[in-house]
Amino acid sequence: MKKNNVLKTLASSREISLLMVMLLIVAIITWRNPIFLTLKNISDMLTNYSTTMILALGMMLVLLIGGIDISIGATIALSGMFSALIMRDNQGVPVVVAFLMSIGVGLICGLLIGLVIVKGKVPPIIATLGFMNIYRGLTYLMARNQWVPAYQIPTAYKQFATGRYLTFGVLNNMITVMLLCYILFFFFLKYTKTGRRIYATGSNVEAAQFSGIDTDRIKFFAYGTMGLLSGLVGALWVSIYASAQGDMAMGIEMDVIASCVIGGVSLSGGRGSVTGVFLGALIMAILGNALPLVGISQFWQDGLKGLIILVAIILNVLTQRSIIANNLRRRQA
């Protein structure tokens, strides 16, 4: 009976069960290679994966309203390439301006997607599939199939990704931006009207409409935000890898969606938390960073990554089910 109780407390929260999975992974990895838990490695990891982690937030919004966006890789390429091209031709562009341009392009991309989905009533996966190709094609056209190599990107811009000046020397800038996004989203979804309306729209569109929520506006908002974050990541991407290529960030949407699903975001909408997404994205980052460290054969790494993702998701679903069952029992009692 007592054992059952422990299980029950564990199963009472998705986030806690996720945390346990993560700690288990961390423990095994550290046992195989203690370097993993060094400050330097964790900083390296978070810097390299800040892009994926930021995107997971936007994807979470889109999934919450019951949509999906697979065009984010192309949006990143388009916005990143746009600001990189401008910087190539005008070396004096301040870093902030370059970032704002990239974010602006991303926002426009996202709003266009939102427009087609909301006004055109096109299923999100089809609409974003179309835009994925359009944006990727535009990137090639805009850059004339060329690329912007490291030496053509202003030094100040490249130093953003390696610098620590946003926190006056404490944290890498990339990590700072990522954490700021998470804090912002945490409060936004929990304590603002729009935040609550997103959940309402996602769990039951009709009920939300009846209660006076403009669900179209909420959807528009979600895709716009996803675009905006993709634009931000486009800027970060060019800074961290010191190069802009037409094929950059291709396929990143899969890692981002996986992060969300591991983090307990429901693909049918309405369910998911910022904490969960943070843990989910962190698990993806840990897998990416640590598998090469522990010295497993390269050929096993992809398979193992898939397996761990699957286990995490199954655990998640089981926890979710027991939570629902518990709630039901409580209501009946």
Binding site: T51, Q146, A150, A242, L293, G295
Partner: protein, 383 residues
């Protein structure tokens, strides 16, 4: 309202069709309008290649007109691996230059993704267009066989360049540099940079990439030699030609092997990612391999702040150019693709077909070209 929207949609489709038309003509026409911008630097910088290929120079002047018989007005198609890759762009540029020199017509096709499926579709389209030759940089060694066999049955000359397709699917392969030549150049670079002893690691692309694996196998074979007994290859890491993953792999190599002296990356994405990591960390580990000059210009130099003292690559413009002339020689019957056939490839001189490692035949462009601080400034402008 609905009618208005549908009319607008149809109009926008028409608009897109017109715009796309402009787009395709501009891709084929690009070389004709681009030379004003691109040719000037290309000509200046082609000089170093000619210097290294001094023997080739002798033959070029007299024999050039010979190759022109019977190919004028014929259509030559190039199918690269994917769009958006600068390397493929330069290949197409060289191919176009060659075909225009002998008066043929060029079609360059670029699949959006580097997959065999996209290439198979495009091969079908090219067969339907009745081109005279297809040069393909294969995205898969075997998968293109049915499509390419069909093309050959239709009387089209098929050759591969850069990344080979299997011998049954091609008349001849245009190889950027002999596998052994590359392996030797890389091993010598590692030997030089480690000072003759110590650990080094390889950062490759995907574990299935046939060219990567052939080079690594050749390096391994060369390392057997007693001369290299004191250098140890500790790991072959795969970055899948993705930045994020290549960065992970480089960082893991640095952490797992504190005594590592050299990283050798026979792939351009791996080179960039490793160069960035080593430079950011101020690491003492040196980098060499096969990289694109413009991407690597930032990291090549003398002194401790530059991770890469020198690296190699062939000239993709020359591969495309050689493939153009090889296609012409196939079409006009100068060669059939058999061993010991010889032909002249414009400015590059005379080439002889040799046996390839896969039991087919190939033409080898030459040894890889070395990029170091003395020439990187001019080459970074080229590609």
């Amino acid at each position: 309202m609905k009618k208005l929207i549908s009319i607008l949609l149809i109009l926008s489709l028409f608009g897109a069709a017109v715009a796309c038309d402009g787009g395709t003509t501009s891709t084929t026409a690009a070389p004709t309008e681009a030379p004003s911008a691109t040719e000037a630097p290309a000509e200046e910088t082609e000089a170093p290649v000619e210097e290294t290929e001094a023997p080739a120079e002798e033959t070029e002047a007299e024999e050039e007109p010979e190759a022109e018989g019977g190919v004028e007005g014929k259509t030559f198609a190039l199918l690269v691996k994917s769009a958006g890759n600068p390397y493929n762009e330069k290949e197409a540029e060289g191919f176009t230059k060659a075909v225009e020199e002998f008066g043929g017509e060029v079609i360059v096709r670029q699949p959006e993704k580097a997959t065999a499926e996209d290439q198979i579709t495009m091969i079908g389209e090219l067969v339907a267009q009745r081109v005279d030759a297809i040069a393909v940089a294969g995205n898969d060694f075997d998968a293109l066989q049915p499509a390419l066999t069909q093309a050959m049955d239709a009387g089209i000359k098929v050759l591969s360049l850069d990344s080979a397709v299997n011998p049954e699917s091609r008349a001849v392969h245009v190889n950027q540099a002999g596998t052994e030549l590359i392996g030797q150049a890389l091993v010598d670079a590692v030997f030089d940079l480690t000072g003759g002893e110590g650990q080094f690691a390889i950062l490759s692309a995907t574990s299935q990439a046939s060219n990567q694996n052939a080079w690594i196998a050749s390096m391994n074979a060369i390392l057997e030699d007693e001369q290299y007994a004191d250098i140890e290859m500790v790991e072959v890491a795969y970055g899948d030609d993705e930045y994020q993953k290549s960065v992970d792999q480089t960082q893991a190599l640095l952490k797992n092997y504190p005594d590592l002296k050299v990283i050798c990356a026979p792939t351009t994405v791996g080179m960039m990612a490793a160069g960035k990591v080593l430079k950011d960390e101020g690491s003492a580990v040196k980098l060499t391999g096969l990289g694109l000059p413009s991407e690597m210009a930032e990291y090549i130099g003398e002194g401790d702040e530059f991770p890469c003292p020198y690296m190699y690559l062939w000239n993709p413009i020359d591969i495309g150019y050689l493939a153009g002339y090889t296609a012409a020689a196939l079409v006009d019957g100068t060669i059939t693709g058999a061993v010991d056939d010889t032909f002249t490839a414009g400015d590059l001189g005379e080439y002889t077909i040799v046996e390839a490692g896969d039991e087919g035949t190939e033409v080898i462009l030459g040894p890889p070209f070395r990029f170091d601080p003395s020439n990187i400034e001019e080459w970074k402008e080229v590609y």
